[in-house]
Symmetry: C3
Subunit: 211 residues, 3 copies
Amino acid sequence: MTSGEPSVTLVVLDLVGIAVFAISGALVAVRKELDVFGVLVLAGATGLGGGFLRDVLIGATPPAALADWRYLLVPVAAGLATFVYHPAFGRMERLVTVFDAAGLALFCVAGALKAVDYGLGPLPAALMGMTTGIGGGIVRDVLAGRVPVVFRGELYAIPALAGAGVAVLGLRLDLPTLAVAVGGAAVCLVWRLLAVWRGWQAPMPSGPASV
Amino acid sequence: MTSGEPSVTLVVLDLVGIAVFAISGALVAVRKELDVFGVLVLAGATGLGGGFLRDVLIGATPPAALADWRYLLVPVAAGLATFVYHPAFGRMERLVTVFDAAGLALFCVAGALKAVDYGLGPLPAALMGMTTGIGGGIVRDVLAGRVPVVFRGELYAIPALAGAGVAVLGLRLDLPTLAVAVGGAAVCLVWRLLAVWRGWQAPMPSGPASV
Amino acid sequence: MTSGEPSVTLVVLDLVGIAVFAISGALVAVRKELDVFGVLVLAGATGLGGGFLRDVLIGATPPAALADWRYLLVPVAAGLATFVYHPAFGRMERLVTVFDAAGLALFCVAGALKAVDYGLGPLPAALMGMTTGIGGGIVRDVLAGRVPVVFRGELYAIPALAGAGVAVLGLRLDLPTLAVAVGGAAVCLVWRLLAVWRGWQAPMPSGPASV
């Protein structure tokens, strides 16, 4: 999810984000009664899908994950672990939600910064950051045959867009990259955790839909 | 949807097409009871999805829409307007259908011309034009969890392919680009409107399918 | 599905693989009662989807199929033939399965070799080979509104990954390309046919999934 020579900290955080997203994909696959391969593909698609979407759209191909085997082994390992220990993972749903929020925070900022690196303007870069964060979950749900949960009242995309927007704005103001990344990720993380904790929902259309 | 230095007329037509497609995506999202974010994403995916698909396939990344904020604001505005005023928009279905046919006509020609610009041969360029016209609706339906309407008897893709084909053929015959674009768009528009007005359907397989 | 100056044999095999995959896509479309256009799009998406996915991910755009009209005409012809003669094609399911296994064997090896050509390492290249083989079927199922069969117990992806892996390993050991390709394809073909013949299934998660 990063370009250039990322620090060890960033790589570790990145891999943790991929692992957590991969676990969420594998849990959906287990609930849908898919086989071990379905579990692994949904783990990989959820962990790497957002970054793949971003890299294909901004022209950064092949995606970073295809040039670094660690990015491929992490979702496989997370998927296999979920395949075997899914009852335990399912019970830790609260913990998975917190890690997932951390993954979202990290991905939206890393995605936005990479899009800026590739010459995109502030608004497209913020949207690409959001896409990096939520894309994996959308691919997961389409492959699992359900309408993406991110469209159904869950407050998930707005925090990602906010975090990416803060990071892009910070860069525009010539703030140091590290401060910008931490600030953007914090905005996304806190907003997302508050939404989970307080049960905040995204607004729904009012009134009956015409048919 | 255009390359080089497009005229003001073309940009306006392009944005109208995106807006109409975005409204159709937002109306589907409202009927599926998605939240405001689902409405916006389906608006954006329907308005821009066809062009994104084409640009990724012909290697024109990042897509034009990511380099021009107007292409991003139009679907957001159309999506928000539909979110708020969906009962009124739903009642204007006839008008939306006409505008949608206009969007289809425009997109299939613009897509085909851009594919020729990128060095594709006549047949692939015509197919890319059709993809530009129908791709947004396909992405919309996959995200909304339904089989794309364009596959279910609606006469929609053939007019788009015909319009794109006329444009590509015209270029081959060294006719002026403007004449070629207007001719292709007219073929698509008239055919599509006649299909809606007369209730023309695409042929279905005959006989029972073996299971 | 090949780069450089492929031999006539390879092109013929490639076109046969595309035709068989296209027939499988068209049969699904007929069973879903899609119209003629839905049949053609599902034929094209199944025949070419895996190669398109691979080419977009490794940055080989536009995909080879868009630069060679034979690659576009084959799925159209296969789709039209299935549209007309689907009862006969449906009865030949056993034969279609054998040809499909041959297509899978060919695509996984050709995809892996192309990914190596584009500079990918062994593990990503093997995964891209598998993606080339199974991607078309996944796109087909997503467009047809069903969970991909490759995730539901069918032993299909593992033989493709094995075949691609053998080919990549062979290249690493500096074996001649032809031997490597034949060996990889044979591993995939034999494993897949044995799985069909013996009814081998991929492992499923054990125990009830937590909700």
